[in-house]
Symmetry: C2
Subunit: 350 residues, 2 copies
C-alpha cells in the first residue's frame, strides 16, 4: 500500500506534553499560562465567544469548547465522568486543536488533560491575585483529586501561599496529594472535616468531583475577608456552595456570565444576581474586592478562552511537535477524488 | 526521555482512510453509508441534536458538529474556505472523533475530508431515491468541484442514473470531473451554461462553492417533475436557488430544520415557510413527493447525524486502525500529577 501525501498536523501526545511540562517545571508553566490568560482576558472584546456545547448523559458529560480571535481558533474536547474512577479511568480527559482562521488548517493537535489542570489552576491563582486580600498566607483545599496538586502549586508560585489545609471525604486522596506535594518540598496539613480545614484560612478552594448539588461550604464556615475559589461547581446540577454564601457576598466574579449562569454556583441564583466578568475587573471597568472584610467568590467553571491561551502557550514552547498525517494533501485542491488510490479499486487487468 | 503510558486512541490517517475507501470501492462505501444514514434517520428521536457551532471570518468558516444517541457521541471539525484554492489548499478539510458516552473516551480519531464527500453524496442519493420520480435517468451537476465525482457516483450506484450533464463556470473543473469519471467508465457531457445543462434533466444537483447569495438556478429552468438536490447553499449568505423556485415548490425537504433555516436555501424564506424533515418522510409521518409533476427540493446543508453514521461505518470497516497516544494513561485515576515525569523537573542531585 503506497503512502499518500498528507497535510501534516503538528501533534503533541500526552507523553510529549508531560515531558515538556516536567522539563519546564509545572509551576513555571502555570505562571506562563497565567500571563497568557491575563493578556487574553485584557483583550476580551476581540474574541468570538460561545457557551460550551455540552452533551449530558446519566454517566457524565462530553463538551466542546470553541473560541476565536479572528486569527487563531481553538477548541477543546473534554469529558467529565465521575464514575470512571471505579473502572480505573480518569474523571476528566481532554484534547484540543489550535487552527488558523485564514485557512481553517489545524496548527496543533494535542492532549489537554494535563494542560487543563494547569490552566484551571493558573486561572484560579490569577483571579485570587486580583480579588483576594494582598496579605493571604493560608489556603484550604477541599477536594484532593486530580487537580488539587496544580491548585496548591499555582497558589504557592503566584500568591506565595505557604500554608495549605487539606480535606477530602476520602483520606486516600489527601494522602496522595500530600505525598506529591512533599516531593516538591511543599508542606500541607490534613484535616478531618471541611470546617476544620477552612478555619483561619484566607483562601478556600473547593474542587470536588461529585455531580450533585452538594453543600461543601456552609455559611458558618465563612470568615471576614475570605476569598472563595469555587472550582468544582461547573455543570448543571453540580454546585458546592450553600446559596446563603452567595447572598452574603452579594455578587460573584465569573469568567463568562452566559456560561456560568448555566453551570456555576450561579445556577442556584435568580437570573439577575450580580455576576461580574473577570476581564472587566482587569481593565478597571468594574470594581474588584469591595472591602478588606468582604467575602469574594470566584465562581469558576472553566472557559474556552483559557484553553485558547494554554494552546497558544503550548504552541510557543513546543519546539519539536510530531507531524500527524491527519488530513489529505491534494495535488489540485478541487480534485479530492484524485486522492483515492484508484488503482486499488479499478478492475485489475487479467 | 522515557515513554509514559498512554491511553491510545484508534486512529485513521487521511492516507489510511483513502486506501480503505479505494480498496472497498467508493460506490460501495457510499451505498453502505447511505444504509447507515437511513437507519439512523429512522431512529431520529434517539439523538441529542444541535445546530452546528460555526465560527465565521471574512475568509471562511470553521464548524463543530456534535451529536449523540446516548451510547455513541461524535463530532466533526470542518472548515469552508473558498479562497484556499488560490494558495493550493482544499476548500474543505475535516476530521472527526467518535466517543463512548459511558466513559467519554474517544473510540476513533480520523480524517473526514474524503468521508464528508462520501456521506454528502450518499445523503443526496438517499433523499433523491425517496423524493425524486422513480423513473429518473438524467441528472445535471452544476458545480464540478471537489465533491462532484462523489455525487455522480452515488446517483449512478443508488438510483441507476446513466446520463450526466455537467456545467461549471470554470471549464477546467468540468474537464477534471470528466477525466475522473472516464476512469470509472461513466460517460458525462459538458455544457456551456447552467440552462443548457439542466434542460431535460430529472434531477439537478447544485454544488457550487462561492460564499455568496448566488442565483445558480432561475425559475425558467425548472421543468415539471424535477427534483432539485441543492447542496451548495449551506452557510449564512450562501445560497444557490432563486427564491421563486422555493415558492413554486411550496415547501422544501431538509435534514434538520433548526440548522437549515440558518444555513440553507431556507434562509431566504420567512420563518414559517414549510420545511419537512427527511426522517418524517422515511417513517411515513410526512408525505414525500406530492405528484409526479411536482417540483421537489432537498435543501441539504449537511447535518452532524450523517457524520455520526459515517464514523460508525468507518469504525466497522477499519480492521486495523493505528494507536495514537493522545491521552494519558494514569496508574491511579486521581493522580494526574503523578503522570508528570517528576525526575525531569526536580533539582538534580549534585
Amino acid at each position: 500500500m503506497s503512502a499518500l501525501p498528507s497535510l501534516s498536523v503538528p501533534y503533541l501526545s500526552a507523553d510529549a506534553v508531560a515531558h515538556l511540562i516536567a522539563a519546564r517545571g509545572p509551576a513555571t508553566c502555570m505562571a506562563e499560562i497565567a500571563e497568557r490568560i491575563e493578556a487574553d482576558f485584557r483583550r476580551w472584546g476581540e474574541f468570538d465567544k460561545t457557551p460550551r456545547v455540552a452533551s449530558h448523559s446519566p454517566e457524565g458529560v462530553i463538551e466542546l469548547m470553541p473560541v476565536s480571535d479572528g486569527r487563531h481558533y481553538s477548541f477543546k474536547y473534554v469529558n467529565g465522568h465521575p464514575k470512571n474512577q471505579r473502572v480505573g479511568l480518569p474523571t476528566v480527559l481532554a484534547f484540543g486543536v489550535l487552527a488558523d482562521v485564514a485557512t481553517g488548517l489545524p496548527a496543533l493537535l494535542c492532549d489537554l488533560t494535563l494542560t487543563t489542570a494547569l490552566r484551571t489552576a493558573a486561572m484560579s491563582a490569577l483571579a485570587a491575585r486580583v480579588l483576594a486580600r494582598p496579605d493571604c498566607r493560608r489556603m484550604a483545599v477541599i477536594g484532593n483529586g486530580a487537580q488539587s496538586e496544580f491548585q496548591v502549586l499555582a497558589f504557592h508560585r503566584l500568591l506565595g501561599i505557604r500554608e495549605c489545609h487539606l480535606y477530602d471525604i476520602d483520606p486516600a486522596a489527601t494522602t496522595k496529594l500530600m505525598s506529591n506535594l512533599a516531593r516538591l518540598g511543599i508542606v500541607a496539613k490534613p484535616f478531618e472535616s471541611t470546617a476544620a480545614a477552612v478555619k483561619g484560612c484566607d483562601i478556600v478552594t473547593t474542587i470536588t468531583a461529585d455531580k450533585t448539588n452538594a453543600t461543601i461550604l456552609t455559611p458558618e464556615m465563612i470568615e471576614p475577608g475570605m476569598h472563595l475559589n469555587a472550582v468544582g461547581g461547573d455543570c448543571p446540577g453540580k454546585t458546592e456552595l450553600h446559596r446563603d454564601i452567595l447572598l452574603r457576598a452579594g455578587q460573584v466574579f465569573v469568567e463568562y456570565a452566559p456560561q456560568t449562569r448555566i453551570e456555576g454556583e450561579l445556577q442556584q441564583m435568580p437570573d439577575d444576581f450580580p455576576a461580574i466578568e473577570f476581564w472587566s475587573v482587569l481593565d478597571g471597568s468594574a470594581a474588584g474586592r469591595p472591602t478588606v472584610d468582604a467575602l469574594t467568590i470566584f465562581d469558576s467553571v472553566g472557559f474556552a478562552l483559557e484553553d485558547f491561551s494554554a494552546l497558544r502557550w503550548l504552541q510557543s514552547v513546543a519546539t519539536q511537535p510530531a507531524a500527524l498525517g491527519l488530513l489529505p494533501q491534494l495535488d489540485e485542491p478541487r480534485n479530492l477524488f484524485g486522492y483515492l488510490p484508484l488503482a486499488d479499486c479499478l478492475p485489475k487487468a487479467a
